[in-house]
Subunit: 328 residues, 2 copies
Amino acid sequence: MKKIQIAIVGYGNLGKGVELSVAQQTDMEVFAVYSRRPAESVQTYGAAVRALSDLQKDAEHIDVAILCGGSATDLIEQGPEISRYANTVDAFDTHARIPEYFTKVKLSAQDTGHTAIISTGWDPGLFSLNRILAQSILTDGKLYTFWGKGVSQGHSDALRRIPGVAKAVQYTIPNAELIAQIEKGEDIGEDTYARHTRECYVVLQDVADADTVEKAIVSMPNYFKGYRTIVHFIDDATFEAEHKGMPHGGQVIASGTTGTPDASNHQLMRFSLDLGKNSEFTAAITVAYARACYRLNQKNEIGAYTVFDVAPGLLSPLTPEELRAHYL
Amino acid sequence: MKKIQIAIVGYGNLGKGVELSVAQQTDMEVFAVYSRRPAESVQTYGAAVRALSDLQKDAEHIDVAILCGGSATDLIEQGPEISRYANTVDAFDTHARIPEYFTKVKLSAQDTGHTAIISTGWDPGLFSLNRILAQSILTDGKLYTFWGKGVSQGHSDALRRIPGVAKAVQYTIPNAELIAQIEKGEDIGEDTYARHTRECYVVLQDVADADTVEKAIVSMPNYFKGYRTIVHFIDDATFEAEHKGMPHGGQVIASGTTGTPDASNHQLMRFSLDLGKNSEFTAAITVAYARACYRLNQKNEIGAYTVFDVAPGLLSPLTPEELRAHYL
């Protein structure tokens, strides 16, 4: 059987992860990596590298293009553009702009008979899927999302922009006491600042003053102000030895009640991830949704979709008969 | 807007749970409970009670019939029968007979333009859905299902059949040490007996001998033999005070790796339930899938489906636009 031909558009951490994940599949292969950089400067694990400007020309050979650029500047342009000539899957993660992005991609894909699945990472993505399950089943309930323990790229970038900071990483740590309260069916209130601790490991530049840097961190609005923030100053060798990984994770917890007001019963649903390498896991999700994207397009289901619209069985390489016999 | 009309077929613990869950929905109402028992002997929370023999006659008023009987004797007959004249949802849970049951229900529903969603509880059901997500995303991984801590009805029934036992309950308890090994990315091997402890609380009849009963329990094949089994003999008052609840739960854990053989990364996905009352949670799942069943039928998607075939968004009372804006 002909394998599903995957184009990898953009070759940062996510694109690399997609190449590695496709190599684990028996029904797919990478047609090529597409990059803006000169092909000779892009070191893949073996996939051909072609210019991004060749993508449209190659479209007839590609079943699904997985868009691996950043949401803010790359995807917002590429999604509506590329879905005019290819089926696409992405992990668009700017929550506030999802409706606008969905509409643009939908118009492009519908016009031209393509299928696009947007926002297929883990949040948005798998976490969203579990939020819907929980919200639909535990009607009388509350939904909570906790992130971590893990590296927040956005907060790490914010630390590195502070004058005097040479290297830095920020770990988001969920508040275990609040999670324990939810497990007992208690209400933890609306204070979202209390739900996470922000732990920072910072290597200072030689001339920098630790007190000044720490004050700049804990007072930074949107990122750290209001949160319990812990700052550790460490030396470069410690940073290189202990803080180069990309662990992440998190959990969606739904706490609800069923029964009658006189005899109510506490019910808890939880979906959690503990990831050794965030980008490779996100990549594996986009690859599974690429399989679904291909199948939807084969069934002439065109336009834009999210994880809410995709039947879970479409993600699996197994047949519906195999799934019912062995996984139900 | 007209509410989705639900028939509850069978009124044991699951049927009661369905009535209570429908009462929490704004877009559904119970048309009637259908029972084999005389109507005056069936105490509902308010729903009308009608004879099971009236169900077919009432079918034109019913959008979805939720089948709440037992799998072994009720559903195996009722599923193929009732899906000839109504859309149906059930929580059929005899894993080994699912392919056969699916085929029968499919033929009935297809012939007559109906939609049936089978096996929508939590295992099979939500656990199956998470097994598929995990198996599709962590291609190089292993799947584990643990049950408990919770009451196993089947094992409790087995205890009560032993001569000399007046009352009994069996709690299935997952092996926390094995779960901790999985969390660390270790392989726990194939010994499924080691994964759970079976803890029994037994009230003896006056004349019974504790040693004889305990030996009968721990040597019972299929149920207890081979498992770590703990037997507590307690008095009737303790049983009534402490062991009348129906807690249950469990978890599906997927442990896999991504990356290259030289640089592999451990990734863990987990879906877990901690249920105060098993039957009411299962009921809430069937009710959410009843909404999906109604919508599929409205879209002329006829035949038999499982949780693998149902897009998650169909479970929610919210519109696709609302879901994308607030839950993605």
